[in-house]
Amino acid sequence: PCPSRCPGSGARLTPALSPPQGYPGAGQPPPVGPYPGAPYGGGPPPGPYGHPPPGAPYGGGPPPGPYGHPPPGGPYGGPYGSPQPGPYGGPAPAGNAPPGVDPEAFSWFQTVDTDHSGFISVKELKQALVNNNWSSFNDETCLLMINMFDKTRSGRIDVYGFSALLRFIQQWRSLFQQYDRDQSGSISFSELQQAFSQMGYNLSPQFSQLLLARYAQRSPNPSIQLDRFIHICMQLQSLTDAFREKDTAMVGNVRLGYEDFLTMVVTRML
């Protein structure tokens, strides 16, 4: 399902909140079978974290176009997705951006590249990316982003990588905004369940609980910020791909040796 076609708040009902097959007390076994991705329900992944189209160096779908009018303080909209308020909200200097790089992205790159090395490190990236509650993106997610967009294999990203990363993040912000039905700025248990379901995953409520325990701040109503949401979804996709690769018979079941298991997980999870 493409995110731009997903209903916003009129989301489709999810009767499948009962545990899938294999769990104690589970209901019907899922249909095995004729349709692709059956035991996983994954289907083709929605845009933002799919595989890059052939020829495109970076992941994600087509860029959503220009960033739009920057509100005061930043290029991204209102309560949702403003980066650190700062001095760079104004129009970028013309003519300096490398070919193919959006001038705003270039201007932002220059601000974030505090040591003027021409590359952005994890630490510098942390300064650039914020959640809706103004907390910086956590280390894990920044690392993930760098690894995704680092074509130089140096652990840092150049201006092209950064530009692609910004587009990528913007797509995620939109998706996050859709799933955040009550517009609280973070994603709650039920919103997370809904998100997984809409993405085509058929995962148990226990799984969502586990993720909240692992990723959310301790509180009576734990919820997940954008950075952790991105991290979760990307990891889920990656591990699902890894599992699928081994499950050639498409039965939702794989026999793994210990070393294989470690390799599979370690190469995808770290």
Partner: protein, 181 residues
């Protein structure tokens, strides 16, 4: 002893030197969270001459022993953690031949193998890539790595009912067990 809120729960606990560190940071509930663990470990000097642990590593350490999924450790769990981390530290020190507080890829590989983790070259590459700065892995990151490997190993072992080194994973179970670390 006993009875007083926040006081020792059993005779002898107060004499345990570890209890001093624990009580100094723990609240009235006798539980410590990741922040408090970080302070506690730093004060105890377990990191020795190495840098103190970062918060994410502390969170990982708690999750390793946090059986009630509370996100906190009680004193007994803390003691267990202490013993495990000390063991890992001795191991790290034995491979840190120049005492720099870091190990390189080969030393890391040897250290992990001798701990019993069977890692393919790709796995070692992934680990080194993730945890090294300029080809060197610091003590804190080594611990984070050990915690993750240990958790994954536990997850696998618990399901290996015939103890043959093979597990049949259902998709959901695989995802859940791996992503909860």
């Amino acid at each position: 002893y006993g009875g007083a809120p926040g006081g020792p729960a059993f005779p002898g606990q107060a004499q345990d030197p570890l209890y001093g560190y624990f009580a100094a940071v723990g609240g009235q509930d006798g539980q410590i969270d990741a922040d408090e663990l970080q302070r506690c470990l730093t004060q105890s000097g377990i990191a020795g001459s190495y840098k103190p642990f970062n918060l994410e590593t502390c969170r990982l350490m708690i999750s390793m022993l946090d059986r009630d999924m509370s996100g906190t450790l009680g004193f007994n769990e803390f003691k267990e953690l202490w013993a495990v981390v000390n063991g890992w530290k001795q191991h790290f020190v034995s491979f840190d031949s120049d005492g720099s507080g870091t190990v390189d890829r080969q030393e890391l590989e040897k250290a992990l193998m001798t701990m019993g983790f069977r890692l393919s070259p790709q796995a070692v590459t992934a680990i080194t890539k993730r945890y090294s700065t300029q080809g060197k892995i610091a003590f804190d990151d080594y611990i984070a790595c050990c915690v993750k490997l240990r958790a994954l190993t536990e997850c696998f072992r618990r399901r290996d009912t015939t103890q043959q080194g093979f597990v049949n994973f259902h998709y959901d179970d695989f995802i859940q067990c791996v992503m909860s670390i």
